[in-house]
């Protein structure tokens, strides 16, 4: 089991970005993502948490700042090349292809290395061993899976590319608590396996349950950060601090 390394695998520095000219959603946000850790970004609605992930993944261009992975800059890299750079992104709404079967969804996860049949077979088998429910439902249309199963399919598909960094946006949104706990367990397991996870979440208790390090955002900037222990004592105080501190 790999230990967490203190050298960030991905760094984002002073990111400024927005959807409309003149209105910035991110105003100099910085994060570090480390192997073997779940780093969690919390904060009130509309503060730019999801935007941060979109900018890192290349869906929204940064106006300024820098993003590096392994010392190599990612700025300007189109989103479809991110999987080859070792980054995957799981948006708030599961990014499965709802009208395709589970089997085809998984096959599409091997797109960048589809010609390497042995690698495709090996990784698919590994994913199906990790998520056995998917093996039972290979021919089922992905959109007909339950919310939790869709998330499992999405994570399984993401892992086919053997990413170093996983960017996750509210992975348990609209999922019942029992299944949400399973999903958090899976995410914690990914970190134990040496993956670097940057988790954006509104489920504060759930996220704090697995986070190694917490970033709190307000109005597009870093409000405070620290290890999980700094935040777990009194969640209510934490939330009221976000809401009422100016």
């Amino acid at each position: 089991m790999p230990d967490s390394d203190t050298t960030p695998v991905l760094t984002a520095r002073n990111l400024v970005a927005g959807y409309v000219p003149g209105i910035n959603i991110l105003n100099g946000m910085s994060v570090d993502v480390l192997r073997g850790q779940v780093r969690c970004v919390l904060g009130p609605n509309g503060t730019g948490k999801s935007t941060l992930l979109k900018v890192i993944f290349g869906f929204l261009p940064a106006l300024s700042g820098n993003i590096t992975i392994g010392g190599r800059t990612l700025l300007g890299t189109p989103a479809h090349r991110m999987s080859q750079a070792g980054i995957t992104y799981l948006p708030q709404r599961p990014s499965i292809f709802p009208f395709l079967s589970v089997e085809v969804n998984l096959r599409l996860g091997t797109w960048p290395f589809r010609r390497n049949r042995a690698l495709v077979r090996g990784r698919t088998e590994r994913a199906l061993t990790q998520f056995p429910i998917l093996r039972e439902r290979m021919k089922q249309t992905a959109g007909t899976l339950s919310g939790g199963q869709q998330r499992q399919l999405e994570i399984a598909r993401a892992l086919l590319g053997d990413p170093t960094v996983l960017l996750m946006d509210e992975p348990t949104a609209s999922i019942e608590p029992r299944v949400a706990a399973q999903i958090y367990g899976i995410i914690a397991g990914l970190a134990r396996d040496g993956k670097a996870v940057l988790l954006v979440d509104q489920n504060i208790k759930g996220a704090l349950g697995i986070a190694d390090h917490v970033y709190v955002m307000r109005t597009g900037t870093l409000f405070e950060q620290g290890p999980r222990s700094d935040f777990t004592d009194d969640v209510e105080t934490l939330v009221s601090r976000w809401l009422y501190t100016r």
């Binding site: 989103a79 479809h80 999987s83 995957t88 990014s95 499965i96 009208f99 599409l108 797109w111």
Partner: protein, 300 residues
């Protein structure tokens, strides 16, 4: 009378298959780029001219002329997509649907007028693919129509095979369902926009080359098939290639039967297109999403 109706039904099937090819191309473009391509009929027209000049200037055999027309239409469509449609993919472009309509409408007018200047207003007729007629008892059909039907079926079978049996077809389908999800798994969505627009154009151009020996070529020949193709796409269900094929056959046959059975033969041809739109209206009243329609508009 029965023989006459049977012959009309067969003719309707042939034109229906051609309509299906045009509409399937429109469906592919609509599903991936999410734009209504008003220039589709003009690419169909250009396909006819590409085949004509390949045959008459380059000495290519008429059947190979269809392949040439498809390749040239693919190239023309890719050129249009790369030069004029890329702003559709920018996150900063607002009202993308309106942009697509205005640009393709402009391209349609441009191509029609360029054709008028370059090729002239007079109809041109490429040579037959096969001369003579197939005679089966009372049924008579020119070999050109038989070839057209066979070639159009081959195009549709190829399209279905490509979409359902190849990795690229699966990726195209994935892009049609979600551009963002496709990019997440590493699919270059821009490449597939180009492919979809080119593929749709190749189908339209191929159809234009097929009808040349039957209906002749003119700069405005794309107007009516284009309108029919829009009706067929809606009738079949937006985004459904199989729906487009079935709706194309239905419109082709029903139009032909209408012409055959309309009491006043001197006016029946004039009303043929109105009849197909009437079919569309009736179907939409009963089934507003078309035959295979669903709430999303992805490729199927």
């Amino acid at each position: 009378m029965t023989d006459y109706i049977l012959i009309q039904a067969l003719n309707g099937l042939v034109i229906g298959i051609i309509y299906a090819v045009i509409a399937a191309g429109l469906t592919v473009i609509f599903s991936i780029l999410r734009i209504v391509n008003f220039a589709h009929g003009e690419v169909y027209m250009m396909g006819g001219y590409f085949a004509y000049f390949a045959i008459s200037l380059l000495g290519i055999p008429p059947m190979a002329g269809v392949v040439f027309a498809m390749a040239a239409s693919f190239a023309l469509s890719v050129l249009i997509e790369r030069t004029l449609l890329t702003p559709l993919y920018s996150p900063t472009t607002e009202r993308k649907g309106d942009y697509g309509i205005l640009v393709t409408f402009g391209i349609s007018i441009f191509l029609r007028n360029i054709a008028l200047i370059v090729f002239g207003p007079y109809p041109l007729r490429p040579p037959s693919f096969l001369t003579g007629a197939l005679i089966l008892g009372p049924l008579i059909m020119t070999w050109d129509r038989v070839f057209d039907a066979g070639a159009a079926i081959a195009m549709l079978v190829f399209l279905l095979w490509f979409m359902h049996r190849t990795a690229w077809g699966e990726a195209l389908n994935a892009v049609s369902q979600s551009r963002e999800s496709a990019a997440i798994v590493g699919i270059n969505d821009q490449l597939f926009y180009m492919l979809a627009f080119g593929l749709g154009g190749a189908l339209a151009g191929g159809a234009g080359a097929l009808v040349g020996p039957i209906y002749s070529l003119s700069p405005s020949m794309g107007l009516i098939p284009d309108t029919q193709a829009f009706a067929i796409v809606i009738l079949g269900g937006m985004g459904s290639v199989m729906g487009s094929i079935l709706a194309g056959l239905m419109i082709g046959v029903s139009e032909s039967m209408f012409v055959a059975l309309f009491p006043d033969p001197s006016r029946s041809l004039t009303y043929a297109q109105a009849f197909s739109l009437l079919v569309l209206m009736v179907v939409l009243l009963v089934r507003p999403t078309g035959f295979f329609g669903r709430i999303h508009t992805a490729l199927d």
